[in-house]
Symmetry: C2
Subunit: 119 residues, 2 copies
DNA sequence: CTGTATCCACAACGATACTG
DNA sequence: CAGTATCGTTGTGGATACAG
């Protein structure tokens, strides 16, 4: 089912294991879910294209987030061309498997939060 | 549908509004989802009973988390008795509305993570 | 275009000890 | 039982400028 070679046990170090805490540790940050969501919706994206989709993230933070997601096998970084240097970020199978979680968050936010502009 | 008096717009200050980021800001921490989950499953709980259910959290962090969840209207704190001092934490309607998100996280963790003890 | 380099501020987490 | 009080460490995010 998974094309990833890294074992999942690596993520789970610690004495107090719990699927929720561990999941929260992996993607429970301000920007991680949005980055994953944009890659889910808009397919492979370059660094700045992704940055525009995410909207509001700084270059440094986006770099940090992408590195973290890559380390954990959620995101794939591919150099598309060297001359005009181009890169593409995409989700791995493992990254795509997070869709239900991301969608649940999005749906909850849509239903229970109100955008400030609408005021 | 909601018994809460506080408007939801308060949470959404900021120029770059997005339902996912905002939701992530509210509950995207290491312990918040677990605390909510335990209250969902095991109903109203006292401080130490909750602490045992969560398993691994320190008293100080649990206090911080509960205060934050209370501030945002997810959790209700009720003093049950004064003589033997007793308190009960329970979810508000708004807190219960997070169930799909929490369950999605739990299910993902169960399916994609492995407990270290099982090795 | 794709990032790095700094530097900073503050939030989150953790361990231990102690209190009403 | 239900927390507080400290203190320290690490994480997370943010602004700005600069570089290959």
């Amino acid at each position: 089912m998974s094309t990833d070679s890294e074992p999942l046990e690596v993520w789970c170090a610690g004495s107090d294991w719990c699927p929720i805490t561990t999941t929260a540790t992996l993607i429970g940050k301000k920007w991680h879910p949005v980055v994953i969501h944009r890659l889910l919706e808009n397919g492979p994206l370059g660094f700045n294209a992704l940055k525009e989709e995410v909207d509001g993230i700084s270059a440094k933070v986006q770099t940090d987030v992408l590195e973290d997601l890559e380390e954990h096998g959620f995101v794939d970084r591919t150099v598309v061309s060297e001359k005009p240097f181009r890169v593409e970020y995409s989700l791995t199978d493992r990254g795509q498997s997070l869709e239900p979680v991301i969608i649940a968050m999005r749906d909850w936010g849509r239903e229970h939060l109100t955008a400030p502009a609408d005021q």
